[in-house]
Symmetry: C2
Subunit: 326 residues, 2 copies
DNA sequence: CTGAAAGCGCTTACAG
DNA sequence: CTGAAAGCGCTTACAG
C-alpha cells in the first residue's frame, strides 16, 4: 500500500494525497475527506524513508549509546531521554557498546548510516581515551554527552562534577568523625578516575593520612569478597563507593563479619539508585541527578533542532542523601 | 557527500561505486581500490533510507515496546535483546508506552511508519485488554512477545507460565511449614492476574484456608507501608510477592517492626533481580529466566528473516532461588 | 568490466 | 483547488 494506491482508490493524484497527509497547500474539503477515508480504511502510513529521501526530512531518530542498560544509572537516563524526546516527536535507537574501540566505532557508523539526527553518549566511558570516537561522530552530526566533558565543535555536555561530588562525600565522612577513609571503585573509566581524584584531593585537604584506594570486581559479590579481604579491625572507618552496587556489597560483607554500620564503619554509595533504598541499613548515597541531566539533554536536543541553538556546557548540582549508613 | 560525489571524485559512474560498496558484480581490482580510497577518505556511508527505498532492503531495525525500562526486569530483557539482535545485524528502536490505549496505538504506528522489520512487546501489559494493539500490529509485520501469550497470526510468544511459577512458590512455603499465606502485587496486569490465579490455585490444592491477596502501591515504600497496615501477629507466616521490589519493601517493614525473617515470616520475591541480592536477609526469589526468553526471541527473529520460519510458542522453565528469606 | 537509465515512494515548485 | 513532472540517493537489470 503506497501513495499511488491511495491516489487511485480515491480517484485523485498523488500530489493531492500528499497534501492531505501533510496538511499543506489547498485541498477541497470534499476531496480531503474522500482521501482521508481511503487512508484510514487501509491503515496507510507514508514511509519515512521515502519522505526522508524526498525532502531530507529528518527521520526523527536519536541514537543513544550507553555502556550497559542493566545498570540502574543508565536505565534511568535512557528512560528519561526516551520519554522526553518522545514528547518532542523523536524515537530513540539504543546501542550498548562493548569495550573495544573498533566495536564502538562501528556502532557509531551504523547509527550515522541510519540517518539519526543526533547521537547522545551516556556515561564517562566515552571520555578520556575513547574521545576520538566522539570527535569523529561530531563531524557528521550534533553530539550530546551525559555525564562527561569532552571539548569539541558540535559537542554538547551535561554533567555533574564527579570530582566535587566525591570530595563532598569524603568531607561528610570527616565531619562525622571519620579519619580513616577508603575509596572503592570497579571499572577503570574517566568517571572513576575523576571520583578517585576527588577522594584524594579531599583526603589531602582534610589532612587525613590513613587512606586506601581499592579496586573491586564489578559486582555486588565481588565487592563483598574484596571488602572481606580488605577489612582489619581499626583499619578504616569510612568507605566511599563509586556506585551503589559496590556499597551494597560492602554492607553485605560488613553484616557477615559482624561490623556495625555506621557504628564502626560509615558507608556512602553513589547514584542514589533503587539499590540504596533496598539495603538494610538503608544506604546513604550521592544523588548526582541523572534525571535532571537527561531532561536537560532532551530539551537541549529539541532546542538545537527547532531554534538552531543549544547549550554546550551544563553542570548539574548534586546532593548527598543521608539514610542509615552515615 | 553522496554516491554522486564519490563517483565524481573517483572518476567512475555511480553504478560502479554501488558495486564496490555492495561487493556485488564485477569490478576491476584497480578501480575498486581507487573507489575504496575515496570512500574511506571522505568517511562515506550510503544512506539506509535510499537503499531501503531502492531495493526494499530492510532497515535492519527492530522496534521494542516495553512498559518501563527502569524496572530491572525490562532492563535485562532489553539489554539481552539489543546485544543479541546486534549480533544479527539489527539495531533496536526502544519505545516505552504509557497507559492509554491511544498512546500505545500511536507508538506502534510510529514504529511501523519508520519501517521496522518487526516489533517485540515485552511484558504482559500488552496481553489481555490491550491485545487489540498487538493484533493490529501483526497485520503489518511479524510480532514477537516476551512474557505473555497472545493467540494470532504472525504472533510469536516466548514466556514463562506465571501461574505455575507462583503455584510452586506457594508450595515451597507450604513445605517449610507455612500455613497462612499472603500474596502481594502492585499493578493490575495480565501477568499479575496470572500470578494471583496461581496463588489461589495452590492455596486451594494445599487446603490452606488462611489466605490474603493484597494490592500495594507500585514501589518499595508503598509496599512497606501496606505491609505495616496488613501485619498482625500470627496473621500470616508466608508472603509471596509479584516482584522483588515489593518483597524488599516487606523486608524493610518487617525489620522496622521487629518481625524475624524467616523465623516468623517467610518472604519470596519474583524476577530474581539485583534487588534480591541487595537486601538483608538476601531475598529468595523466583528466577523466571527473562534472559533465556530474550535470547530465544532474538534468535527467533533472526530465523524468521533468514530462514523464513519461526517458533510460535516457546515456554521457558523457572526455578525458585533459595537465599535467606525462606 | 563499466555506464546509462529506470525505478523505489515520497514532496514540492510550477502551470493551469 | 489539482495534476504532471522533477528530484531525493540509492540499486540493478540491460546493453555494450
Amino acid at each position: 500500500m503506497n501513495i499511488y494506491d491511495i491516489a487511485r482508490l480515491a480517484g485523485v493524484s498523488i500530489a493531492t494525497v500528499s497534501r492531505v497527509i501533510n496538511g499543506k497547500g489547498y485541498v477541497n474539503k470534499n476531496t480531503r475527506e474522500k482521501v482521508l477515508k481511503v487512508i484510514t480504511r487501509h491503515n496507510y502510513t507514508p514511509k519515512k524513508s521515502a519522505q526522508n529521501l524526498s525532502t531530507g526530512a529528518s527521520l526523527k531518530l536519536i541514537g543513544i549509546v550507553c555502556y550497559n542498560i542493566e545498570d540502574p544509572y543508565y536505565a534511568k537516563a535512557v528512560a528519561v531521554l526516551q520519554r522526553d524526546l518522545n514528547r518532542f516527536g523523536y524515537d530513540i535507537i539504543l546501542s550498548c557498546t562493548g569495550e573495544s574501540r573498533k566495536q564502538r566505532q562501528s556502532c557509531i557508523d551504523m547509527l550515522i548510516s541510519k540517518n539519526v539526527d543526533a547521537i547522545v553518549f551516556i556515561g564517562s566511558v566515552f571520555a578520556g581515551k575513547s574521545e576520538q570516537v566522539i570527535l569523529n561522530a561530531a563531524r557528521h552530526l550534533p553530539v550530546f554527552i551525559i555525564n562527561a566533558k569532552v571539548e569539541g565543535k558540535n559537542i554538547h555536555c551535561a554533567y555533574c562534577d564527579e570530582s566535587d561530588t566525591v570530595y563532598e562525600c569524603a568531607r561528610a565522612l570527616f565531619e562525622r568523625g571519620r579519619r580513616k577513609l577508603a575509596f572503592f571503585y570497579d571499572v577503570e573509566t574517566y568517571g572513576s578516575s575523576k571520583k578517585r581524584e576527588g577522594f584524594l584531593r579531599a583526603v589531602k585537604d582534610l589532612g587525613i593520612s590513613e587512606k586506601y584506594v581499592m579496586k573491586c570486581p564489578p559486582d555486588l559479590e565481588g565487592a563483598c569478597r574484596e571488602f572481606e579481604q580488605f577489612w582489619e579491625e581499626g583499619k578504616a572507618d569510612g568507605a566511599m563507593c563509586s556506585n551503589d552496587e559496590l556499597a551494597a556489597g560492602i554492607l553485605k560483607a560488613a553484616r557477615k563479619m559482624g561490623i556495625s554500620v555506621p557504628g564502626q564503619l560509615s558507608v556512602i554509595g553513589y547514584n542514589n539508585s533503587l539499590i540504596a533504598r533496598c539495603t538494610s541499613p538503608a544506604l546513604s548515597s550521592l544523588e548526582n541527578n541523572v534525571e535532571k541531566l537527561a531532561e536537560f539533554t532532551a530539551k537541549n536536543i529539541s532546542d538545537y533542532f527547532s531554534e538552531n541553538q543549544a547549550v554546550l556546557d551544563f553542570k548539574a548540582d548534586f546532593k548527598l542523601i543521608i539514610r542509615e549508613t552515615l
